[in-house]
């Protein structure tokens, strides 16, 4: 090995603690990048293969009823390369051993032709046999949640008729990668499932003999999906067709692409911050090393090593650190990615979700880290390069100090000499102090993010299920009903109060922006299901105009008072030009609301209702559930307590992991920054500290001088870090906020206190490690050496 390289490795060994600290901080940044990029790749590759192999449709449309003969005409539409017509309905399940009913959707599989699109991937058993009436295939997640498999039988109510269904297969569908009840933010595989049944049998059960109510289409390569959708809308209109939509609005596909977007966006900020801090740490360590090695550099130059060779030698320090950081970061990123993939498997139902490392991402990440690091140390290396041999042979001129501005104000009388040492040292190295503060501030900021998420979730749950939705249960009818439907609900056992609603599928338009949304007609003075503003105050339902979720108003770029067009997709398809009366706050899904009477006038109907929110007598809860299971009209039941519990369970699982990762990162940064800073301070002031030891300061007094600096830096860093943490939490929450789910930003004292504690404890530990060196300080060799 070249002697210079031997020197490199021995020098690195002498600062190995710092090398490891820097490499770890760098590794955190790289790990986030590599994890996120690899997860994006894993999801995209898996999604691409699955969608292709199982022929996931590109255009979807629901309608009331169209004869099967229409299928041929649909298939001839220009731009349609494949098409399936299906029957789709809701079912309520009465499961043994579970008091409350589960519900689900059921789709037809053709029994007279091969399935064209959204092909089922059978995991167990088989498809329903030709002509078999009660055979169903069940979605894998639901089956797994209940331990169902081929051979099991379940009781269900389909369109009012009680059926005994025999499970013959367990399957996955590209249509239900994310299998959540429509409108729910998170999946609840115990209470919601997807089923498939023979087409003729299902059509007959739903009163749709010889007809279909759902179309899925694959668009020919090169054709414009929007044109296909427009033609489809035209063709289906006479059959009660609702506006066709593409994958962008298909619930499962959308959830998946939202997740990919979040992964892609949210990693960038973290990576830049971590790599920036790591670059600074390397720079500080190398600057100190080069200062210590002035004479060695001079000798190298005197012996004839050129500036290039000297520069390259010191750049190699950075490269070794980058190499170590890259190695650690890659290993950490890949293993974190693998761990998250396991979590994803519970949420995203693919036949196989394998982890696909994004090696391009790894390479790009390592290159970025290298660039950050080389840029960071270039100043220090330049110092070595430009050092004149003759000058370098002399000891470095004594350090210049002056009174700090604070002292010039006369406040110095308040500070002890040791504190003054600390203040002046900091002032003399403003950049080093600045970056140390930044690093500590970042370490303070990081734990605030999971704290804010946890509090956001708690707030969301309280807001959603204690403040806004105060009903115990919500029932929806299979199809809208009138007075008799109302009495059916009101007469259910245990119902103390009921609040009706009417939901109408619509297209909302503002300029060129549009969204398919169900407009909910609600009574004026709702007491159970309330609409609230951001502060949790009830928003009164206006007699005219619409109330929208703030998120939906944002998506449609609407402000209160702006005109909005409501195109109803049901009945006579009336069109209403109205205004946005106001916005409401909600956190899951988006909604549009109007006065139920106004909606009924628009629909030219009397007392039609789609369902009701109910307050229940808890003593008669079981009777109520039993009655719902048997009720022929009820298509879905949502129990507030169950929804809340399921949400809490699911988020708790994920939050545990998220919190652990954030905490580990904060500790690494705090520990690393403090360790690096304290080691440099120790090295720079060895002589001062040795002097103090000689003249009679105990090690703890000497440590106090170093602590003084740290205390000053930490005192500046913490408030800054708390502010930064708030901004970071806002950024992360905003980046991960989608139309499906979004968290409120809740920053409370506990998050801040945790953050401060994390930083103080890691700093103290890190400092304790460094200060052990003070005990081993060789006072004599230091004092008798020249600077």
């Amino acid at each position: 090995m070249h002697p210079l390289n031997s020197k490199l490795f021995r020098d690195l060994r002498s600062i190995k603690g710092q090398v490891i600290a820097v490499a770890l901080v760098m590794a955190c940044g790289l790990a986030v990048l590599i994890m996120a990029r690899s997860l994006v790749r894993s999801l995209e590759v898996t999604r691409g293969e699955y969608y292709r192999e199982n022929r996931f449709a590109e255009v979807f449309a629901d309608l009331e009823r169209a004869p099967n003969a229409l299928r041929a005409r649909l298939a001839e539409l220009p731009g349609v390369s494949a098409l399936d017509t299906r029957v789709r309905g809701a079912l309520i399940l009465d499961l043994p051993g579970i008091r409350e009913p589960a519900d689900g959707v059921i789709y037809s599989v053709p029994d007279d032709r091969p399935q064209q699109l959204n092909l089922l991937r059978l995991r167990q058993g088989r498809l329903p046999a030709l002509g078999a009436n009660t055979e169903v295939v069940v979605g894998e997640a639901f089956a797994a949640a209940h331990g169902f498999g081929p051979g099991h039988e379940i009781e269900a109510t389909i369109y009012g008729a009680r059926e005994r269904l025999r499970i013959v297969g367990v399957a996955l569908s590209p249509e239900f990668v994310y299998e959540a009840r429509p409108g729910d933010a998170l999946p609840d595989h115990r209470r919601f499932g997807v089923f498939w049944m023979n087409e003729r049998r299902l059509a007959s059960a739903l009163g749709l003999d010889g007809a279909f109510n759902n179309v899925v289409i694959d668009v020919a390569p090169g054709a414009d999906a929007r044109e296909v959708m427009a033609r489809l809308d035209e063709l289906l209109e006479p059959y009660g067709g609702q506006i066709a939509f593409d994958r962008g609005e298909q619930a499962s596909a959308r959830q998946l692409s939202d997740e990919i977007t979040i992964l892609r966006d949210s990693s960038v900020a973290f990576v830049a911050i971590f790599l920036g801090i790591a670059a600074f740490m390397t720079s500080a360590a190398l600057t100190r090393l080069i200062r210590l090695q002035r004479e060695q550099i001079a000798q190298l130059k005197a012996f004839g090593y050129g500036s290039l060779a000297v520069g390259a030698h010191y750049f190699k320090f950075a490269l070794v650190i980058v190499a170590l950081g890259s190695l650690l970061g890659t290993a950490l990123g890949l293993s974190m990615g693998r761990a998250v993939t396991v979590v994803y498997r519970r949420f995203f139902l693919f036949p196989e979700l394998d982890f696909h490392p994004d090696w391009t991402g790894v390479l790009v990440g390592c290159l970025i880290a290298t660039a950050f690091c080389l840029l960071g140390v270039s100043g220090a290396v330049w110092q070595a390069v430009k050092l004149h041999p003759a000058e370098a042979m002399r000891p470095e001129p004594p350090a210049h100090f002056r009174r700090s501005p604070i002292e010039r104000l006369g406040l110095h009388r308040l500070a002890s000499p040791t504190m003054r040492m600390a203040l002046r040292n900091l002032e003399r190295k403003p950049w080093q102090s600045f970056f140390t503060v930044l690093g500590l501030a970042l370490a303070t900021a990081i734990p605030i993010v999971p704290g804010a998420m946890r509090d956001g979730i708690a707030y969301l749950m309280d807001f959603q299920w204690s403040q806004a939705q105060r009903q115990d249960a919500t029932v929806s009818f299979i199809e809208p009903g009138s007075a008799s439907a109302w009495s059916a609900v009101d007469n259910l056992p245990g119902v103390l109060a009921a609040e009706i609603f009417r939901g109408v599928p619509t297209r909302l338009q503002h300029g060129h922006l549009e969204r398919r949304v169900t407009v909910m007609g609600l009574p004026r003075n709702a007491r159970l299901n309330r609409l609230l503003d951001a502060r949790g105050r009830a928003v009164g339902m206006p007699a005219d105009g619409l109330l929208l979720s703030a998120k939906l108003a944002e998506v449609l770029r609407l402000r209160p008072g702006d005109p909005i067009r409501v195109e109803v997709q049901e009945g006579n398809r009336p069109v209403l030009d109205t205004v946005l009366a106001g916005t409401i706050t909600d956190f899951s899904g988006v909604g549009a609301y109007m006065d139920i009477d106004a909606l009924r006038r628009l629909m030219r109907e009397g007392g039609t209702i789609s369902g009701a929110h109910l307050m229940l007598d808890h003593a008669r809860h079981d009777d109520f559930l039993a009655a719902v299971k048997k009720s022929p009209r009820i298509g879905a039941l949502l129990l507030t307590a169950s929804a809340r519990e399921s949400f809490a369970e699911t988020t708790a699982e994920v939050m545990g992991t998220v919190q652990a990762i954030y905490l580990a990162f904060a500790v690494v940064v705090a520990f690393g920054v403090v360790y690096n800073g304290a080691r440099i301070a120790l090295s720079e002031r060895t002589r001062d500290l040795a002097t103090l030891r000689v003249v009679g300061f105990h090690p703890r007094d000497v440590a106090a001088v170093l602590v003084g600096e740290l205390v000053v830096l930490t005192a500046i860093a913490i408030p800054f870090g708390l502010y930064l943490g708030g901004r970071l939490a806002r950024l992360v929450i905003e980046l991960s906020s989608t139309e499906t789910v979004r968290l409120p930003l809740v920053l409370d004292a506990r998050s801040y206190a945790t953050a401060v504690l994390v930083v103080l404890v890691s700093s103290a530990l890190s400092f304790a490690v460094v200060s052990r060196r003070l005990h081993n300080l060789n006072m004599l060799s230091v004092l008798n050496a020249r600077d």
């Binding site: 350090a399 040791t418 003054r420 003249v695």
Partner: protein
């Protein structure tokens, strides 16, 4: 050098019979065991008295720094016994040695070892804060003729001025022992003379035991006793009949 009177203290009686013994070393050795065993100090017997000015002379490696370090409580002997008054320093732990240095010893080094981030006054104050009945920092600095440099940082002073700050720092706590390790080693002769004058004045006016180590034999003439060291042993102890004033020294 300021001729202001030092705080009055009774002139010490340096007659042998009445001398107050401060250090009492019996057969002390210092052995550094590594790959090669080094006997830096080899069976030294020595008594040092209050008010004395002692010069330790010897070449590099003669053991003079090792002896000074042991006397100053920076190190302990491997063999033999060392007492300061009645206190046994031979077996003192690190904490006790720190207290000993804090209460008893003032140090002056060749390279000053001032804290660069503190002004002259603050460098002195750093020490007076530890002491029980110290001088005011300003007073100590006046004694070394630095009244007009009190608010200067080390980088703003010459080598001689820095060394005088170091002396002020060492004497401000009124130590009983002042240990000077090559105090003029980094200075030119004129500056060296002013520094030695300050040290001599401390010895004379405060009755401080002063031990100077040097390889500069010319300095020996200002001492009461000159101790010659070679290979870790005392080869000769010479008593000067008359101490020469520092002004008359030259090298």
């Amino acid at each position: 050098m300021s001729k202001d009177a030092f705080p009055s203290s009774p002139a010490p009686d340096t007659r042998p019979a009445h001398r107050e013994r401060l250090f009492h070393a019996r057969g002390i050795s210092k052995i550094y065991s590594g790959e090669v065993e080094v006997r830096a100090l080899d069976g030294v017997d020595l008594e040092l008295f209050r008010g004395e000015l002692v010069v330790l002379l010897g070449a590099s490696g003669s053991g003079k720094s090792t002896l000074l370090n042991i006397l100053g409580g920076l190190d302990v002997p491997t063999e033999g016994t060392l007492h300061y008054r009645d206190e046994d320093l031979t077996h003192a732990d690190a904490g006790a040695l720190t207290d000993f240095r804090r209460e008893v010893v003032g140090f002056i080094f060749q390279f000053y070892n001032l804290i660069p981030s503190l002004t002259a006054r603050e460098n002195v104050a750093l020490i007076t804060e530890l002491a029980e009945a110290p001088m005011e920092p300003d007073e100590a600095l006046r004694l070394v003729d630095l009244a007009d440099r009190m608010d200067h940082f080390p980088s703003q002073m010459s080598g001689g001025q820095q060394q005088r700050v170091a002396i002020a720092r060492a004497i401000a706590k009124r130590p009983e022992v002042l240990l000077c390790d090559e105090p003029t080693g980094a200075l030119d002769i004129n500056t060296g003379i002013t520094v030695l004058e300050a040290i001599e004045q401390v010895n004379r006016d405060l009755g401080t035991l002063v031990i100077i180590i040097t390889h500069n034999a010319s300095i020996a003439d200002m001492a009461d006793r000159v101790i010659h060291l070679r290979d870790g042993r005392i080869t000769e102890i010479h008593e000067n009949a008359v101490r020469l004033p520092v002004r008359s020294l030259s090298w």
